[in-house]
Symmetry: C2
Subunit: 374 residues, 2 copies
């Protein structure tokens, strides 16, 4: 028995960016409750790197909401799409992956999805299942539904085209493939990041072309990476992977800029909105952001590992960067001093403790670095 429509709508809309068209979602939910027929909720993943991160988890947590409400989750592993390469949000053409790379990534992905979702209530489909069989004329049949002008309306394509940066023709097929996935699995709702809006709408066009009721699209905010500037992304390297060790996970959370703290609570934890509001108030009242980041770090580690691991990671971090004691297995690193002596930022970066000079500066500012105990 599915919950009443109003209750479902409240949970579904919480923390989402956009639901388009909202009226259609209402109608779909009403029909679903009336016929006691779960909706088919689609989300796709492009297995372009072997692990998923907190950015993906924003969507996974929303899928969990749908799953808990009683709807049917359909996960599309874009194994075939991965070989084409998603250009979304990237300035350059992404290199195409081999089938072997994609297959290996896909399996790792699935293992990670199920840290959040109940695997027994998920339909998992790889789009190679239908694209692998598709012939040239069918590809052209899909391509014929879209004009070059419409594709170039997509924000990133438009920017690249105007800037004179190359867009390969095969890149146009990423949204088309994603859209055709919706036709094959007959999706009622598709979830994606805000940047996916164009691609999600392509699905509506192709479903209508195939005489199907078009899917409702639901976009989710994009989580910034630990640099606090660019979206969290495997390819940009600014991510926190869901399989990372508690210590690494905690340390990465501690490295985010302060203005990201509330956003991470909202999008990367399951914390209740009221609690998040309290935290926001504390920050404004002047509480040390580092304490609050530690709470965030523990909450995140606890989600993907457990409470104990979270506590340990926090303690070790304190010992290392605050308590002045060396961690259990402190690594050693030799630096070559050049004529000008040893520049401390370069020392921290060079030792691999942080990824960039900017991060090093932040750590030093936060008094996380000591030279000979001082």
């Amino acid at each position: 028995m599915l919950p009443p429509v109003a209750e479902q709508l409240e949970q579904i809309q919480h923390g989402t960016q956009e639901v388009l068209p909202l009226k259609e979602l209402e109608a779909k939910l009403e029909a679903s409750v009336k016929e006691n027929r779960p909706l088919r909720i689609k989300m796709g993943f492009d297995p372009s790197a072997p692990d998923i991160h907190l950015g993906h988890a924003v969507g996974l947590r929303k899928l969990k909401t749908f799953q808990d409400l009683g709807h049917q989750i359909v996960l599309i592993v874009g194994d075939y799409t991965g070989m084409v390469g998603d250009p979304t949000g990237r300035k350059e053409t992404r290199p195409r992956l081999t089938r072997e790379q994609v297959d290996a990534n896909a399996q790792t992905y699935l293992d990670q999805f199920f840290k959040v979702l109940d695997p027994d209530k998920c339909e998992v489909r790889r789009n190679g299942e239908w694209f692998g069989k598709m012939h040239f004329d069918e590809v052209m049949g899909l391509a014929a539904r879209f004009t070059v002008a419409r594709m170039l309306e997509r924000d990133d394509f438009e920017k690249r085209y105007k800037a004179g940066e190359p867009i390969s023709i095969h890149e146009f097929f990423y949204p088309i493939m994603q859209g055709y996935d919706s036709v094959v699995i007959k999706s009622d709702v598709e979830l994606g990041g805000t940047e996916q809006k164009f691609n999600l709408l392509v699905g509506r066009t192709l479903q209508e072309a195939h005489s199907q009721p078009p899917q409702v699209i639901l976009t989710l905010p994009i989580l910034e990476g630990i640099d606090g500037v660019q979206r969290m992304s495997k390819s940009l390297g600014n991510y926190i992977g869901v399989t990372e060790a508690p210590r690494d996970m905690f340390g990465k959370v501690m490295s985010i800029p302060d203005n990201m703290i509330v956003r991470y609570f909202k999008l990367a934890t399951t914390m209740h909105p009221k609690e998040v509001q309290e935290i926001e108030a504390k920050l404004k009242a002047g509480e040390n952001p580092r304490h609050i980041k530690a709470t965030l770090g523990k909450a995140i580690v606890a989600m993907y590992h457990d409470e104990e691991a979270a506590e340990q990671a926090s303690e070790e971090f304190n010992r290392m960067f605050k308590g002045g004691q060396a961690p259990d297995d402190m690594p050693e690193f030799e630096l070559e001093a050049d004529g000008a002596g040893l520049w401390i930022i370069r020392a921290v970066t060079g030792a691999g403790l942080v990824k960039s000079n900017g991060e090093a500066r932040r750590m030093i500012k936060q008094r996380a670095v000591r030279v000979d105990g001082e």
Copy 2:
């Protein structure tokens, strides 16, 4: 034994628009003579209508030159391409043909090619042979070689894009398919109309991507249709088909504007350049263009039928439009007179003797129309 390079070059370049790059053609011919290995000369046809016309024959006659020089002609019947629809030179997206339409057209085409070429010395390939087996990822592999910007550089795409007219994505695949045909058949030289230059160059790109020496491209002038304005084209209806009856063929030639006479001699007959020059001189000296058109009409009918048919067609035309005698099987046509009496131009057009009021006017001006013998 292939003729000397200089002799070949002279014949090949006669009446062509462009040979690109000429140096590469020389090198290919030299290697060909040295190794006594014929070059592979490619020309493709899109069987979008069931018959070919004098416009196509411009290329076929050039292929005949290569064939007579001893090279290997490879005719590509674009049966698969036809299903995509060639947008070249058209303002609108051409409708895609069904396989049945394309297959039927293709066979009729071949029958007509061999009115000009020796079938025993032609390799005929249908590109469905390779595209019919091609899968999505291979299609993407080809598409990845070209940028959207490069495609939009093509003259007609650029115009349509700038004018805000829709270009379907599948249209980009026409040049790509044509280019890949060159890879499969390993062409040394590809012939095409001047408007085909972009497509022919795509073949070079794909051959290089497949580690083949790129083909030389040879473009031929475009023959205008019987309207003397737009290119001769099946879809525009301004063509003279190579299978048309002698009388129709002759009549259509007689309907071309006078400023097209010399051009038709050059591109649609096998008349020697010297003879064409003499005709040009006669026209300038004031000789009645209708006499010269009759010579042209007879030359063309003789090419596709025989001398006797040409003579008969000419005599019948004279009887009908000049001699004042009724033709053997004169058709009758009843016209409804309206209040204003009978407008002579409308009578000639309405009877189906000519296709347009403009043509009717020309015929009347040339004294080809009589009312009750006057």
